[in-house]
Structure formats: structure tokens, C-alpha cells
Symmetry: C2
Subunit: 334 residues, 2 copies
């Protein structure tokens, strides 16, 4: 018998407010970067990005995505034992956002709630963490992982990358443990870290302890992004995926679908080529929602499941990269 | 054979700058709260609190504590597979503080790095998370958990509780997996959450998405603490500890020592009385360092180990509470 960890429901929420490429390109005209940004948006694959309005919050968006995931799983909030919120834009650092989400969902049996931050691989890391509890401890049967990003307020108006690519939104996934005769569900994880890029992205730029300094401006409390060459991405991602699959004696040719970081369409294409797979095996959604960081691979899964379910035994891979950088990939068998 | 998770090294760092009770009491004279604060400091057990100076950072303090833990464990930074930073005052939200600590330590084999925030139970939660990896995945042999608090900048000058009780500082612990004939090391965990207190503590008070608003003051970006009755603490803690111990068929009489939240001396006393233990079985250190939140139970462990080691088979309990609130307890057998 295997104690499998299965995805029993996925949900997402995207705010109504749309910002089109045209608006972004016009905005960068005053910096004489309009041509530059046009090329960037083409390479990264952007068209529309969604943004939270003043009435919306990271916790509110996370709750909406969670309710959809619960509905998909045919579960009530009271069925959840553990909630992990995985974001780098937490509405509060005290209390945990997971506790705030528990409160709004009335998930009164969730004894374990905490926040995990691994930037853009946050939901993948949190799924992995939750699965260890579901596999090792019978007190935990069902975990809710929420990735909610409210990142647009932190993009500097003169920063071509962050200002043009990010989107606000949330995704949620429910994991459930099940004793079964065959091994399936979450199979393995692989991580890789090279911290030599740790100074390329900093948020808040001034450091958290300086946000109380009235001599600084709101601008200094936003995100700093120093342009850097990340052309190594496809090599490192494909190495990571090959090592991951090898743990269960699979090869890229066995993979049915990829849910990658939604940062760059181009890098997904090149990675899949290097793996011997093709681009149609990935779901890309950042063209209509913008880059939603930690939430983005699960938001892509949600989009795909709405169109078409997976068949039994289909193998999928989640893979992303976080600031600094650290990478993580997960394999899952339906 | 048991795959045990053992503590192989502990370290701590406390900054040099000391703030004495006298200074705090004088400060609150202008608010006519000097008598009130004198009683509070007596009940909570404060004398001195340590504070970071301008040259110190949460990452720097965490690195110092980690180096001490490595030395205690007779390990090199390269021996570490996983780093978790557990704090509610992260220097950055991007990249993860764990990645920054990895960089400073040159822990070049730590493939897995991420941050966990569960406020004042953060290190206990992170120890529990790391132990699941060490128990389930042979890729992970040694994990470093770092709790570093740089909280003094966020205490409001007119808030009697936070301004008078907190201290900056860091603790670190190294966990190691080992196949052994007898079961020991980390035994079990219990958590309990009641989110009805979620609005009592909020940091940043304005919500993170509003820290960029230049119409707000630094004061609004600090910690909000609404006084509330937490006299339930000793009842809830003792219930949690009894349930925890019961998982391995132990009772409070079998416990040799407690490492509790260092928030309140009085609440530790009452809890231990209710458990049928006595106060001498707890290590209290907040009188000389201030309240260091997530780091505080491990800082207490470090203090105790410096004075006296535990003998084989001695049973210890870690127990704390986080904003909102959520509680966690861990049992450990030497």
C-alpha cells in the first residue's frame, strides 16, 4: 500500500482590472523605452495583465481562489487540517496570512497554519512541504495551499521589467492523502540553488527595518530589479527536470504536460526544446493575466483543468525559479 | 531501525546594545504610564533587552548564530543540505533570507532554501518542517534553521507592551538524521489554532501593500498591538502539552525540561504549575535579552546547554504561541 498525496481541487482568482500592452508602451514613451518594452513584452509573451483595485487585498484574493478549490474538491472549509500561504507580498507579517485566510474561510479544524516564502517557487515549495505532513502524520489528511500575489503596488514606474510584466492574482490547491495499491500523486521533488544572483532583486529595496524611516520615499520601499542575464535558465531547468524524473526512472518523453514559471514564454519554449518535448506540452497564461509569481504554475494548472482533465497515469511536472536564485521542480502522476 | 532527527548544534547571537528597565520606565513617564509599565515588566520578567545597532541586520545576526551552531555541531557550512529562515521581520521578502544566509555562510551544498513565517512559533514550526524532510527524503541529511529577529524598529514609542518588552537577536539550530536502534530525537508535534484574536496584533499596521503610500507615516508602518486578555494561555498551553506527550504515551511527570515562549515569566510559571511541574524546569532568559519571538525558545535551549548538557533519555518540550493565535509544541528525547 502507498500513502499517496493527491490534488483534489484547484482554484484561481484574477482581478477584473485589465492593463493592456498599449498602456504600458505609452507609459514608457516618456522614458524613451517604448521600443525596448515592445520587444520585451513580445519575448516574455504579454498582452494583458490583471491588477487588484483598492477594494481588493492579497488575503481576499486568496480566499476567493481557496473557495473555488474547495468547490472543485467537493469539500467544506471544515475538512481542511492545514493551511499554508505562500507569497512574497504578504498583507501582514503578523499574524500569518494563513491564519487570516483560515478566519475568513471559517476553516475551524485547521490546527496548523503558517506562511512560507520562497518567492516565485513558493507554491511549489509549499506543496512539497504539505505533502511531507500528509505522508508522515495521520493527523493531517487535507492541506490547502494558497498563493496570492498583490505585487503591482511594488513595481517602480520607471522599471521596465517589473512595471510591464507583473499581475495580481491568486491560486489555491487542496492536497489529500489516500492509501492506495498503486503509487501515484506527488512523486518527487528536486531543488537547485545558486546564490550568486542574490543582489539582482531586492524587496523592499531599503530593507524591511528601514520602512519606518520617514526620510525615505515610497519609491525606496518598492522592488529593485537590476537587469541581469538569465539565459542560463533553460539549461538549469532542463538539468533539474531530468534529475527529478530520474528519481522515479522516468525520462522527459514520459511527461505529458509542464506547468512552468509564467515569467517568460521564450524560456519555457527553449527549455522544452532542450528536454526534447514541445511547447504545446506547456500551458501559458501570463499573456492574459500577467506574471503572478508563486501562484503562476498553479494558475496555469487551473486553466488547463478547466479546458481538459488529465487521464489516469499521465505524468506532469511543475517547475519554477525564485529570486537570487533557487529552483524547484515537482513530478506528479494522475 | 529508526530514522531519528537529532539536534547536533545550537547557537545564538545577542547584540551588544543594552536597554535597561530604568530607561523604559523613564520613557513612559511622559505618557503617565511609568507605574503601569513597572508592574508589567515585573509580571513579564524583564530587566535588560538587547537591541541591534545601525551596523547590524537580521541576516547578519542570523549568520552569527548559525556559525556558532555549526561550530557546536563540529560541521562546516558545506555539510548543510537545507536552510530555513523563520522570522516575522525578514530583511527582504525577495530574495528569501535563507538564500542570503546561504550566501554569507558559503553553504554551497544547501540545495533547498526557503523562509517560513509563523511569528513567535516560527522556529518550532520550521524545526518540525525540516524534520519531515530528514525523515522522508534521503537527499536531506542536515538542516539549518535560523530565527533572527530585528523587531525593535517596529515597536511604537507610545505602545507600552511592544516598546518595553522586545529584544533583537538570533538563534540557530542544526538538525541531523541518523539511523538508530532506539527511537529518540524529535518525537511528536501538536498544534492548536483559534483565529478569533487575529485583529489584536497587526504588522505592518497599514498592510504591506500600503507601505509605498507617501501619505502615511513611518508610525503607521510599525506594529499595532491592541491590548487583550491572554489569561487563557496557561490553560491552552497545558492542554496542548498533555496531548503532545500522550502521542508517545508520556505524561508531564516524565518531562525533564521546558523551553517555552519567553514572552511572559508569569505565564510559564502558571503553565508549569497546571502541568504538575515546577518553574525550575524551565529556562527563562527574556530578563537579560528581551523577548526575541520565534528565536526565543531556541535561545533558551542554547543558554541551558552552555550551563549543563542533557543526559541520554531526558525528555524536553518546546512550546510557544503566535499572533492571532496559533500554538505549537514539540517533544524531544536526548
Amino acid at each position: 500500500m502507498f500513502r499517496n498525496v493527491l490534488i483534489s481541487g484547484v482554484g484561481a482568482y484574477n482581478p477584473g482590472k485589465e492593463v493592456k500592452n498599449e498602456t504600458i508602451i505609452n507609459h514608457f514613451r516618456k522614458y524613451q523605452l517604448d521600443e525596448h518594452v515592445t520587444n520585451l513584452l513580445d519575448k516574455l509573451g504579454r498582452d494583458i495583465r490583471k491588477q487588484a483595485d483598492d477594494s481588493e487585498s492579497m488575503i481576499g484574493m486568496g480566499v476567493k481562489a481557496s473557495k473555488e478549490a474547495l468547490k472543485e474538491a467537493k469539500l467544506r472549509a471544515e475538512d481542511i487540517d492545514m493551511i499554508i500561504s505562500a507569497t512574497d507580498t504578504p498583507q501582514y507579517l503578523m499574524p500569518s496570512c494563513a491564519l487570516m485566510i483560515r478566519n475568513e474561510l471559517k476553516a475551524s479544524n485547521a490546527t496548523s497554519v503558517f506562511d512560507l516564502n520562497n518567492n516565485c517557487v513558493g507554491m511549489i515549495s509549499a506543496i512539497d512541504v504539505a505533502s511531507r505532513y500528509l505522508k508522515t502524520d495521520k493527523k493531517f489528511k487535507r492541506a490547502l495551499i494558497v498563493g496570492s500575489l498583490h505585487v503591482s503596488p511594488f513595481a517602480k514606474e520607471d522599471d521596465m521589467i517589473t512595471y510591464s510584466i507583473v499581475g495580481d492574482g491568486a491560486a489555491a490547491v487542496i492536497l489529500e492523502s489516500k492509501e492506495e495499491e498503486i503509487e501515484r500523486g506527488l512523486l518527487a521533488t528536486q531543488m537547485f540553488t545558486d546564490d550568486n544572483y542574490n543582489d539582482t532583486i531586492r524587496f523592499p529595496e531599503c530593507g524591511l527595518h528601514n520602512i519606518v524611516d520617514d526620510n525615505l520615499k515610497g519609491y525606496d520601499r518598492k522592488m529593485q530589479w537590476k537587469p541581469f542575464d538569465f539565459s542560463f535558465l533553460s539549461d538549469k531547468w532542463s538539468e533539474l527536470v531530468v534529475t527529478l524524473l530520474d528519481e522515479n526512472e522516468y525520462k522527459p518523453e514520459h511527461v505529458s504536460h509542464y506547468f512552468m514559471s509564467q515569467f517568460s514564454k521564450d524560456d519555457i519554449k527553449v527549455t522544452l526544446e532542450k528536454l526534447g518535448n514541445n511547447y504545446e506540452q506547456a500551458t501559458f497564461i501570463a499573456d492574459k493575466y500577467g506574471y503572478t509569481g508563486s501562484a503562476s504554475p498553479i494558475m496555469a494548472l487551473n486553466e488547463r483543468l478547466k479546458k481538459e482533465k488529465f487521464k489516469d497515469e499521465e505524468l506532469i511536472v511543475f517547475c519554477s525559479v525564485a529570486a537570487g536564485y533557487t529552483m524547484q521542480a515537482l513530478s506528479y502522476k494522475w
